[in-house]
């Protein structure tokens, strides 16, 4: 026992000894500059592997989509990988991909669309030329639009085949109400079917501008070479009017009252999703990283939230997260339980929530552990450069690179008062959406209502979404 105590003490001392060092560790250094046409460029050098990644991010995505355009940012993303002014057929495009050894893909999110090429470093200049050509001169041939509509709808089909697709959509619909198109990058079938060349050209003209984009180069590259090469290929991309000069799309209005969403799924377990409107970048930047710290307190294996719900056996799966967004980031709690444990699990969940602002609900050590885990996970995600570029693109669009650059420092400054403010402003006694997906195989819920399953400290008349 003595030896164990001694070693523990040494280990604890070691931790505090290294703590000041920890505060100095930072994300990989990047070089940032802007071309005359407004294109921001970010370069991250790392010579561990002889490949480079070229990524372009554009502030497009579902937040720019009214219902009649919902899903078209995604269709546009697919069209990028077809014909352009130089490679005038999809086959030519793919042949060039093959010749340059490019591994490519694209991603469409709520607040950004990303295009990325990873290739051998020897082919970097050709890859830059290829990326510049593809982003500036898509042809949008009608036959290719038709083909890509089928591909995108196929992607929709595959998502729809997920047993939780319908349930998740219903929860999202309740959460975002009339603003749902702004939060669904996958879009809606009718809008995708009705896509035209003219609509894609409208998107190109409005959003695909150098002053609304970020170019990221990571990997085995030389920053000096990049500074020389980028203007050669990307200055031909012409600046346009700021698409968000008028302040951009309106933010989603706050939820007015709690809402219950019920569904059944072909799955033996019961899934519960609880959602709140969380902080937005631009309105409450501090709230966004405080939200991250609080989520990482709750999800620690030793914290009472996890112990009361998961270790007790009430929940087989449990999560609590915040998703950073400029246009209202959702706070999400998810429980996977069994039909017979649902009642108890919900009671325990709301009892835990009632204690969120109790000063004894989490210890100082748990706050510091949350900060430490967040910092470390952020650093770990910066290691694989072919995916770190996606991380940079996300933060650029959602929060700005200055926010991301200070993120680790800002985390370390979060206080108990900040956490209490966040809980009072966004969670405790605030309207929420409670979604329950019952198992088709389990018993049917009797009297499903907010009175029975909702927050007992916020009694309201039940409104069940169809």
């Amino acid at each position: 026992m003595y030896i164990r105590f001694l070693f523990s003490t040494i280990a604890t001392l070691l931790f505090y000894l290294i703590a000041p060092l920890a505060a100095t560790a930072q994300l990989p250094p990047w070089t940032r500059f802007t071309l005359d046409n407004g294109l921001e460029v970010l370069v991250v050098e790392n010579h561990l592997t002889p490949i480079a990644t070229i990524e372009i991010a554009v502030k497009n995505g579902s937040f720019t989509e009214p219902p009649e355009y919902n899903g078209l940012s995604h269709l546009y993303e697919h069209m990028f990988f077809t014909s352009n002014a130089r490679d005038t057929t999809e086959d030519n495009f793919l042949g060039r991909v093959d010749d340059l050894g490019i591994v490519y893909n694209g991603q469409t999110w709520e607040e950004q669309v990303e295009y990325f090429f990873t290739l051998p470093k020897e082919n970097l200049e050709d890859g830059l030329d290829f990326m510049a050509t593809a982003i500036t001169s898509p042809l949008f041939k009608p036959d290719e639009i038709h083909k890509q509509k089928e591909v995108v709808l196929g992607e929709f089909d595959r998502n729809e085949a997920n047993p939780f697709f319908k349930f998740n959509r219903k929860v999202e619909l309740a959460l975002w109400d009339g603003w749902i198109s702004r939060k669904e990058p996958l879009g809606e079938r009718p809008a995708i079917n009705a896509a035209t060349r003219e609509k894609l050209l409208y998107i190109k003209g409005k959003y695909y501008l150098p002053n609304n984009a970020l170019l990221i180069i990571t990997g085995d590259v030389n920053t000096g070479d990049i500074r020389r090469l980028i203007p050669k290929y990307f200055l031909r991309w012409q600046r346009g009017p700021n698409p968000f000069a008028d302040g951009g799309p309106k933010r989603v209005p706050p939820l007015a009252k709690p809402i219950l969403v019920l569904d059944t799924v072909d799955e033996p377990r019961t899934t519960v999703e609880i959602r709140w409107h969380g902080p937005s970048i631009g309105l409450d930047d501090k709230g966004t990283y405080v939200a991250d710290v609080f989520s990482f307190i709750l999800t620690q294996p030793e914290h009472q939230f996890t112990k009361a719900l998961q270790e007790s056996g009430l929940a087989q799966g449990l999560n609590f997260t915040y998703y950073t967004q400029r246009q209202v980031g959702p706070i999400k709690a998810d429980l996977i339980t069994t039909p017979d444990h649902l009642d108890s699990a919900m009671k325990v969940f709301w009892a835990q929530l009632a204690k969120f602002d109790d000063p004894n609900y989490y210890s100082d050590e748990e706050i510091e552990t949350a900060k430490s885990v967040l910092r470390t996970q952020t650093l770990l995600r910066s290691e694989k450069l072919s995916s770190f570029s996606h991380e940079l693109a996300f933060w650029w669009a959602a929060a700005g690179l200055d926010y991301y650059g200070h993120y680790l420092d800002d985390l370390s400054k979060v206080t108990r008062q900040d956490i209490a403010d966040y809980i009072h402003r966004y969670i405790k006694n605030k309207p929420y959406v409670l979604g329950i997906a019952q198992s088709k195989l389990g018993h049917v819920l009797t009297e499903p209502s907010l009175q029975k399953y909702g927050n007992p400290n916020m009694q309201t008349k039940t409104e069940v979404q169809p």
Partner: protein, 457 residues
């Protein structure tokens, strides 16, 4: 927070499972020529190889990466387990050591601190080697190494972990014959490697014999410096690493280790067809073929890689796209000191599928591939391979694996140049040398299956 968290701790455990060659196939392809490589042939020249306190070290320093990975390879693996010990000894030992904390640091405290640092410590067994791994960010390396080295020297062998793990393994073993895919692989292993060092698979009887004193004995036998290879990648200098090893691992015994000879199994030189009974009636037949493949150290490895790429494409195209006989026919390899090529598919039309596969075999054995076709797509292949070794953990795994399996760390890195030098004639030669002596296992309804056809190549 961005959506889609990445849990690194599981990442390295998964990687070690992939490299452990204990029944998992994978498709990572690296440069392989056995002769000395010049630096021009590989993109990496800054790997250091040295001894510290009697332990052989491979080290690549990267100042750019925030992560340090250290993998202690323990040569021998399952094949070196003495016959009077249960075949599952290495498996149990690695798992229980990594899960138990140390004699000085209790399991709960150990886990709590690792969680706080997000440090991953894991243990995996393999046929030819096992590994204990450490993966952490640089600023936590000192503390993490203290925990890791203490686990190596004074593991706790926690009895609760042992009991729980034993239960879960027994459940897994009792159900492994229920799933036809896993069962066909298990059966193919037992047939193809009969009488071979790789043929010793653990059974329920082995697991039931396991107990903590046995694990302690096994651990003390294998933890000798002569068996060790420590592969480290990250922002650490040779001097710092040497000091750490001297301060923490120097007093481990030198011991003795002579590798067991592993050559291709006898079954690799004659065709065979086996139809094991299965408890349930299946809607389709599960087909799995084993054949001899070159190891990474063989001179014709690159030619074979290119052949496998073409052959796999032909098989997929003809069986799936043209004839729609199976959804996912696949040609793959399993690395090791002797390597196995595999063909797997599920179809009720066994004879038709085999005829198509053998037509494809004939094609590659009898026809020269156009040189330009050989070179198409090579650059993309190189990119994908390098994307598989972007992290310190991936590099530490690859470096150690290359040294143990081929004797040369250069083989950890894919050589674009070597793949580009493959000729049409080398591909024909590889097809004639390797695409033969198929040993088939068919699980399902084999009433009308033509055994002679299966055994004809």
């Amino acid at each position: 927070m961005k959506q889609g968290m990445w849990f690194r701790v599981w990442g390295i455990v998964g990687m070690l499972m992939l490299i452990s060659a204990c029944g998992t196939t994978h498709t990572t392809n690296f440069s392989s020529l056995g002769e000395k490589h010049s630096d021009e042939e590989t993109p990496v020249s800054d790997v250091q190889e040295f001894d510290a306190a009697g332990i052989h070290i491979l080290m690549r320093q990267s100042t750019a990466s925030p992560v340090v990975t250290a993998i202690l390879y323990i040569k021998g693996g399952d094949v070196a387990t003495p016959l009077d010990e249960p075949a599952s000894s290495e498996y149990f030992t690695m798992k229980i050591v990594a899960a138990s904390g140390t004699q000085r640091i209790g399991k709960d405290y150990f886990r709590k601190k690792l969680y706080r640092m997000q440090t991953g410590i894991g243990g995996e067994n393999g046929r030819d080697y096992s590994a204990l791994s450490l993966d952490c960010i640089r600023e936590n390396f000192d503390t993490s190494w203290a925990y890791f080295s203490d686990m190596i020297r004074h593991p706790a062998f926690d009895s609760v972990e042992f009991v729980n793990f034993k239960k879960s393994v027994l459940v897994g073993l009792s159900s492994r014959e229920d799933e036809p895919g896993a069962y066909s692989e298990l059966f193919a292993d037992s047939i193809y490697f009969v009488g071979h060092p790789y043929g010793r698979n653990y059974s329920i009887a082995d697991v039931e014999q396991e107990n903590i004193p046995l694990l302690k004995k096994h651990f003390s036998e294998i933890m000798v410096k002569k068996r060790f290879l420590l592969s480290v990648v990250g922002n650490i200098s040779r001097e710092e690493l040497t000091k750490k090893i001297e301060a923490t691992l120097a007093d481990l015994p030198d011991g003795d280790y002579k590798p067991i000879a592993v050559s291709p199994p006898k079954k690799a030189f004659s065709p065979g067809a086996y139809f094991p009974p299965f408890a349930r009636k299946l809607p389709t037949d599960y087909m799995l073929a084993y054949y001899l493949a070159p190891t990474k150290g063989d001179s014709d490895y690159y030619a074979y890689l290119r052949l496998r790429n073409f052959f796999g494409g032909f098989v997929f195209n003809h069986i799936r796209v043209v004839h729609n006989l199976a959804y996912a026919p696949n040609v793959d390899d399993r690395d090791g000191r002797t390597a196995v090529g595999t063909i797997s598919l599920q179809t009720p039309y066994v004879d038709s599928a085999v005829k198509i596969i053998y037509n494809d075999v004939d094609f590659f054995q009898q026809n020269l591939i156009r040189e330009s076709a050989i070179h198409e797509g090579i650059a993309g292949w190189a990119t994908r391979n390098y994307m598989n070794v972007e992290t310190t953990a991936e590099q530490a795994v690859s470096l150690g694996q290359a040294v143990i399996e081929t004797g040369d760390w250069h083989n950890a890195f894919f050589s674009y140049k070597k793949l580009g030098e493959v000729t049409s004639q080398q591909i024909v030669d590889a097809a004639n040398k390797y695409l033969r002596n198929f040993n088939w296992v068919i699980v399902g309804d084999t009433t009308n299956v033509d055994r002679k056809l299966l055994e004809s190549r």
